[in-house]
């Protein structure tokens, strides 16, 4: 970004190139605004969901094809304002040795999230450091930052193009993480035009290598309003490992409130 900026200043210095430069800046600004608009439409399509509970089966597959599975429940409470993220609790039920382990997150936009973990063997709730959002989530190919809410304010945007993906018209945008400890330099996101939902994300690491691809499908609309993917498939191109998430029993507006998302509730969830 800084290199691009310096070049533009040089151009501005040359009077003859001034108009061209303004034109270039305007189109870059257009692309940023258009990219933001596409992301915003997707973001606001979820407004008013209040709370959401879903069961999740996570299948981890390594390069040799051997598999292991985790089963968990995710409870999400919609953010109180645009300045904070959603609150969530993840409760594990399998593998059996981590049954009852629960993770509470109060997501924030550009700061580390507040996170507490409950360890049933010790009957103990621990506040944990969450600065390393790029670390893997329970040994999967999903990083914590892929898993937490995709808040609009966490990225800077750029519109790239419109194209069909599996026969669906999509807007393709590029987004750059603003969180300084993100594991990514950028992500390319395919958002379908009819429903404004994410269909595919290419993740580029800090060295701009194409690290992972996420495919989202089996979308269903719940309560006549909210779209949720039934299946997410993350492939790591460096390790050749994959993680598949299969959602079931998705429910909205179950009556959860702020009081259900405090550390004190973690000990008696299971």
């Amino acid at each position: 970004m800084s290199r691009k900026f310096r070049r533009r200043e040089l151009l501005v210095a040359g009077a003859g190139a001034a108009l061209w430069s303004l034109g270039g800046r305007a189109s870059a600004q257009d692309a940023a605004e258009r990219g933001f608009a596409v992301a915003q439409r997707s973001d606001t399509s979820d407004n008013g969901f209040r709370d959401n509970v879903a069961s999740l089966r996570m299948t981890l597959r390594n390069a040799n094809g051997s598999e292991s599975q985790r089963e968990l429940e995710i409870r999400t409470l919609e953010r109180a304002s645009a300045n904070v993220g959603d609150k969530s609790i993840v409760i594990f039920s399998a593998p059996a040795d981590i049954e009852g382990t629960a993770l509470l997150s109060h997501a924030r936009i550009l700061e580390p999230d507040d996170q507490w973990i409950y360890l049933p063997a010790l009957h103990r709730v621990r506040r944990i450091a969450s600065v390393n959002k790029s670390g893997p989530f329970v040994g999967s190919e999903f990083a914590f930052e892929d898993f937490t809410a995709q808040e609009l304010g966490k990225f800077r945007y750029n519109f790239m193009r419109a194209e069909n993906l599996d026969g669906v018209a999509c807007d393709v945008i590029e987004r750059f993480p603003l969180y300084q400890h993100s594991g990514y330099r950028r992500q390319i996101v395919w958002i379908d035009q009819p429903t404004a939902q994410f269909r595919k994300i290419d993740f580029y690491d800090r060295g701009d290598r194409h690290l992972k691809t996420l495919l989202l499908d089996e979308y269903r609309q719940h309560g006549g309003a909210y779209w949720r993917a039934g299946r997410l498939r993350m492939s790591n191109h460096l390790t050749r490992k994959t993680t598949t998430l299969a959602f079931s029993n998705i429910r909205f507006r179950t009556g959860l409130s702020e009081a259900n998302f405090v550390p004190a509730v973690l000990a008696t969830l299971r």
Binding site: L60, N62, S68, Q69, A94, P95, A96, D97, I98, E99, G100, P112, D114, W116, L122, H123, R124, V125, R126, R127, I128, A129, V131, N132, S134, G135, P136, V138, G139, S140, H181, G183, S257, E258, A259, N260, V262, P263, A264, T268, R270
Partner: protein
């Protein structure tokens, strides 16, 4: 069979009766069975101590009923059979309670385990439950304590009031067992209160999470979980349980990759009033070994100002240094190392732990502990020849 197994049983029967009216009653059975082998390479220091490989079988099933309307019943008994140490073979009801709850309140009655505190090297402010001292020397297993508890919540604040009776005595190793002192400890405990284990205990705890801070304030009045050992002249030690009053605070400040921790208490009732504290930090690296594994480093300083009339503690002026390497792999492999160094007497204790899941329902845990440089006349010298290596294979269901 100890009393805690009997008291809640009646309560649970009552609660189960109430529950039968409730709508959909969900039942969940889980838990684990384990086999542990523990080897002591050194010659025993005291007459009667075993040189055999110590084998222990244990079972920890958990049964939870949940009604749709806020009632929850949990039964979590624990049983261990030990090949060497008779005192290590026992049955306990770790949890056996009925809990009623709303969004902002909870009421429970029965045996439960409550954990308070933030430090890793010593659970200083954690006072509700008796330590299962024979499970391991790391003081992280607890006996169920019969209690009635009310908790009220307001935002990120919680107030809890706890009334207890049916005190649980600390268990000590038998003549055959390793990791004991020179003198055998009597099973017949003595109490300051004439009501003995029936003297009621009360506790209050307030917790708040605010921004980067997690604070807990606690008060306790009742029977000390730590006994004094009296009557050394007679050749047998007798545990003596004083009545104490204690106030404590535990605080954690979480900032980026750093956790700053403090636990402190003031206690009255065991000789002069004394204070004790644990303070330190935990730092987690932002991804090593290709960004996948994470390494945690811990340093804690331990102080305890108690006098000779209080139960002995080795952790009066010590430093703990530890590290945890989490591989973040599909098998949740982790390696832990820790050392406690006594700054005055020079005694040292080292521990190494490895844990890993095997397949989807087994786990293997290997632990090694070594003791060194205790002064010959100090109580720490009792464990000097009891370095051990243990392996535990567990089947979870």
């Amino acid at each position: 069979m100890r009393l805690s197994t009997l008291v809640p049983a009646g309560m649970l029967a009552l609660a189960a009766g109430a529950a039968s009216d409730a709508c959909a009653l969900a039942l969940d059975l889980s838990g684990s069975v384990s086999i542990e082998g523990r080897a002591f390479p050194g010659e025993p220091q005291f007459e009667g101590q075993s040189e055999e490989l110590q084998i222990a079988l244990s079972a920890a099933p958990e049964l939870v009923w949940e009604s749709g309307n806020g009632l929850r019943i949990r039964l979590a008994p624990f049983a261990r059979f030990d090949s060497v140490d008779d005192n290590r073979s026992h049955i306990d009801l770790r949890q056996g309670y009925a809990l009623w709850r709303g969004d902002r309140w909870e009421f429970s009655i029965g045996a439960d385990v409550l954990f308070w505190g933030v430090a890793e090297s010593r659970h200083l402010v954690n006072i509700i439950n008796q330590i299962d001292a024979l499970e391991d020397v790391n003081e992280e297993a607890f006996l169920g304590q019969p209690m009635a508890r009310v908790s009220l919540r307001r935002g990120a604040e919680q107030f809890s009031f706890i009334v207890m009776t049916g005190f649980r005595e600390r268990a000590f190793g038998s003549l055959d067992g390793r990791l004991r002192g020179a003198l055998v400890i009597s099973d017949e405990a003595q109490y300051e209160s004439e009501d003995e284990q029936w003297a009621p205990d009360i506790a209050f705890r307030y917790t708040i999470s605010s921004g980067a801070f997690d604070l807990g304030l606690s008060a306790f009045h009742g029977t000390s979980r730590e006994p004094r050992l009296i009557g050394a002249g007679s050749g047998t030690l007798t545990p003596f349980y004083d009545r104490i009053s204690q106030a404590s605070a535990d605080l954690q400040w979480t900032k980026d990759a750093w956790l700053w921790k403090l636990e402190a208490l003031v206690r009255e009732g065991q000789g002069d009033v004394f204070a004790a504290a644990v303070a330190g930090f935990e730092w987690t690296s932002p991804g090593i070994a290709g960004g996948v594994a994470d390494l945690g480093l811990l340093v804690e300083y331990l102080y305890d100002g108690r006098g000779a009339e209080a139960p002995f503690t080795a952790l009066d002026d010590d430093v703990f240094i530890g590290s945890r390497l989490g591989f973040n792999d599909a098998q949740d492999t982790a390696l832990l190392a820790g050392a406690v160094l006594d700054l005055e007497g020079g005694a040292q204790s080292f521990r190494l732990e490895f844990e890993r899941r095997i397949g989807s329902s087994w786990t293997l845990e290997i632990a090694g502990q070594a003791f060194a440089h205790a002064e010959a006349t100090s109580p720490e010298a009792a464990f000097e020849d009891d370095d051990f290596l243990s392996a535990t294979l567990s089947r979870h269901f």
